[in-house]
């Protein structure tokens, strides 16, 4: 990717690999693929003959489906590998597993792993392009990209603008509150940096025990423990999933107390400005970080985030594996889709 200095653009391990320019490029290419998604046959030949493997060492049906759908819509061959269920149980090392899969001739590896940095390790061992689909508490870059895409799409619609004429100016000064379990959140570690790179002003809202131990170097506008005080002054309220299954509960006196202090209840949602958006990476813990009726409000973008996920992942795959890197190439290829 052209805006990608960190690893020569071969991989997408962190949103830091992209920078503002790289993010903008992904968003522009995704515009074209959103259009593809609306066609009766939502498929283009851009990656015909290329092989994409999803290598998941942690269960995530949603993310895996999204990546595999994206790859198929680009006409790539898709292999699906669940590390947990196969070789690792037989004692094979991660390196052996990864090299075995690579030996089958793959062009991209989409890696999900419970350990932070696992995709970085994989990238050292194989020639294929490696895409981080979520590693421990570290990053989930495509989630951040699809969130940015969704925000930009909604703001353009509201302004009555054609997306293709939109850059990323809409993020300038955009006030975003990221609420919840920042400490254990890969979504936050990608999202905060992506939003800030595009010019948004990000405030973290969380109890002290769910904040990272250090926020040195984080591009933040502020940190708050008072959600009520923040809500009236934000354009986007981004709620994180409380990872109860990973023991997030041990950082809190009780889920009830968390919900009372940091959940977006109907009462709290009423504090939001009329134009403010509500986002959540899913899957939602209804009744904990978000109230049932709030999740289903028109201002809630949860389903739209999921829908845009496919187009954004198509853009990432296309930019990493496609012949060219410019959005113009995407336009050409997509034009040839009618065959």
């Amino acid at each position: 990717m052209s805006g990608a200095p960190a690893n020569g653009g071969r991989h997408l391990l962190s949103v830091g690999d992209l920078g503002a320019e790289g993010i903008e490029e992904v968003l522009r290419v995704a515009d074209a693929f959103v259009e593809v998604g609306r066609r009766p046959i939502p498929k283009v030949p851009a990656l015909r003959g290329r092989t994409v493997v999803t290598l998941f060492a942690e269960e995530s049906t949603r993310t895996r489906l999204s990546f595999e759908t994206a790859a198929r819509r680009l006409s790539a061959d898709v292999l699906s590998f669940s590390v947990e269920r196969s070789s690792v149980k037989k004692g094979e090392s991660l390196r052996d597993t990864v090299e075995t899969v690579a030996a089958m001739g793959v062009d991209a590896m989409v890696v999900r792993h419970p350990a932070a940095g696992a995709p970085h390790q994989v990238a050292r061992w194989v020639d294929a392009a490696v895409i981080n689909a979520g590693d421990g508490w570290h990053e989930h870059p495509t989630q951040a990209l699809l969130d940015c895409y969704t925000i930009r799409q909604v703001l353009a619609e509201r302004a009555g603008l054609d997306l293709s004429s939109c850059g990323t100016e809409c993020f300038g000064g955009l006030r975003v509150a990221v609420v919840g379990d920042i400490r254990h959140s890969r979504v936050a570690r990608s999202g905060v940096w992506a939003l800030a790179a595009l010019g948004a002003r990000v405030t973290l809202v969380a109890p002290g025990s769910l904040l990272p131990s250090s926020l040195e170097g984080w591009p933040l506008d502020g940190v708050s423990h008072d959600l009520d005080a923040v809500l009236g002054a934000v354009d986007v309220c981004y709620l994180l999933r409380l990872q109860i299954e990973r023991g997030a509960g041990a950082f809190l006196p009780s889920l009830r107390e968390y919900s009372a202090g940091y959940g977006l209840t109907a009462r709290r949602a009423a504090l939001l400005a009329e134009h403010a958006l509500v986002m959540h990476p899913g899957p939602m813990n209804r009744g904990i970080e978000i109230a049932d009726d709030v999740a289903d409000l028109p201002r809630s973008l949860v389903l739209r985030q999921v829908r845009n996920g496919v187009a954004v992942r198509m853009a990432v795959l296309f930019l990493l594996l496609g012949s060219g890197t410019a959005a113009a190439d995407a336009g050409e290829l997509i034009g040839a889709a009618g065959e």
């Binding site: 991660l94 419970p114 940095g117 590693d135 990272p212 131990s213 250090s214």
Partner: protein
């Protein structure tokens, strides 16, 4: 043991030891230094080792190594580890007891010592403080002390229970041995893979706060005061720990401390790559800690630089940071790395560095002449012939494949270091000549 008739002349170097620094040749015969003077003639049949441009110091003493035998011979053995030690200029090492089984019985200690009898350097062994290093019941320290064990530690973990540590210290006092602590409060360190701070927060990696170490240092300083026993602090990694030890020494408590070459040089920023080569326990800390530890060396707070040589087979490192084993090789790179770290801006001389790597650690571990041992010099007629000949100007690139260790997990792979051990003489035998192990 070396052959009694072996005669070696170390010619043209600068002798550096506790007595000072002087241009002199050193003649060695029958395992002992026989003459130290200018322009000595080589007796017929003597092996002459050129030491032009080199420092000739008492053999280095590493009081913190993991030789992995018994139980983890694929990573290292007493023999391979002692060869790595000799190549690094060491004539004595203290093997940590976290083997499998651990050194918590006379039988296992005896096994390591007997393997060490034919090694390329002196191999002493540290005993465990508690049975199975489990932190609960005292290991048979008296039986182990009777075999010559002078240092006890549960290294790899700290003794968590203050009551158990207190009993151990009280018991150790009667034996005249030293307890060495791996300072890490497990309830604070729990699950941590690197230093907790800016980098761990950014990288999404569970961290170990500096306080996990400092709280145990503070506790054991208090226990040293309470019991009057000797406490040695292993591999200190934080500025706060160094300050606590400085304070305890000022108070006159019987405490000593070591640091590793990697904690004097590398920081947690190395983990940006997620490369498990940099996963080590205690973790690499901040630049401010590195500076404070260097200052602690210069101020005399720190008594020893010890490598914490921790070999691991490739599969233990070719995995995720989370799954990888902590630890890095150190024996073959320790002197060059430490010279680079400590003679750079701290005002320390090469001799000050050698003090931290030879005669002062020899005292901490009870291996010096005053304890009836043969390590740490000084280099004078009648002394044991344990020598390290070091060329401070020689640059070399670290090639993991060419290390004598059975393992390859060095953080210095591909880096150029300045200063290399040229010859090592152990009990009169040149075990390393011109950078090559002789057996």
């Amino acid at each position: 043991m070396s052959e009694p008739a072996l005669t070696v002349l170390v010619r043209g170097g600068t002798v550096v030891d506790e007595l000072g620094e002087r241009r002199a040749d050193v003649l060695v015969r029958g395992g002992a230094v026989v003459e130290v003077d200018n322009a000595l003639d080589a007796p017929s049949g003597a092996t002459v080792l050129d030491a032009g441009g080199c420092l000739v110091s008492p053999g280095l003493v590493d009081i913190h190594v993991h030789l992995r035998q018994p139980g983890m011979e694929e990573a290292e053995t007493v023999e391979s580890g002692s060869r790595a030690a000799a190549l690094g200029g060491f004539t004595a090492v203290l093997a940590m007891p976290n083997t499998d089984p651990p050194v918590d019985s006379a039988a296992v200690a005896g096994e390591v010592l007997s393997l060490g009898a034919s090694a390329l350097c002196r191999v002493s062994v540290a005993g465990a403080i508690t049975v199975g290093r489990a932190g609960e019941r005292l290991a048979p320290m008296g039986e182990l002390a009777a075999l010559g064990v002078r240092v006890f530690t549960d290294d790899g973990a700290g003794v968590q229970d203050a009551g158990v540590m207190r009993r151990a210290l009280e018991y150790a006092r009667g034996l005249g041995v030293t307890l060495a602590q791996h300072c890490e409060l497990s309830s604070l360190a729990d699950g941590g893979l690197m230093h907790e701070g800016e980098w761990s927060s950014r990288l999404g990696v569970p961290g170990v706060p500096a306080e996990a170490e400092e709280l145990m240092v503070a506790r054991d300083v208090a226990l040293a005061r309470l019991t009057g026993a000797r406490v040695h602090f292993l591999h200190l990694s934080t500025a706060g720990s160094a300050a606590l030890v400085a304070q305890a020494k000022q108070e006159g408590l019987a405490v000593s401390a070591e640091v590793t070459p990697h904690h004097l040089t590398l920081t947690d920023a190395e983990l940006e790559s997620y490369d498990p080569l940099y996963k080590v326990n205690p973790p690499l800390r901040r630049a401010a800690d590195v500076s404070a530890l260097r200052a602690g060396c210069a101020a005399g707070t720190i008594d020893a630089v010890a490598s914490d040589h921790a070999p691991h087979p490739p599969e233990a490192k070719e995995t995720t940071l989370e799954a990888a084993a902590p630890g890095m090789l150190g024996l073959e790179t320790a002197l060059a790395v430490t010279m680079g770290a400590l003679t750079d801006g701290t005002g320390m001389s090469a001799r000050d560095v050698l003090a931290l790597m030879s005669w002062r650690p020899a005292r901490v571990a009870g291996m010096a002449a005053e304890h009836g041992g043969d390590q740490g010099g000084p280099i004078q007629p009648g002394a044991a012939a344990n020598l390290c000949v070091f060329d401070p100007a020689r640059e070399w690139e670290v090639d993991p494949a060419r290390l004598a260790s059975r393992s390859r997990n060095t953080p210095w792979a591909g880096r150029t270091l300045r200063g290399r051990v040229r010859h090592t003489i152990y009990r009169g035998e040149p075990v390393v000549i011109d950078g090559a192990a002789q057996r």
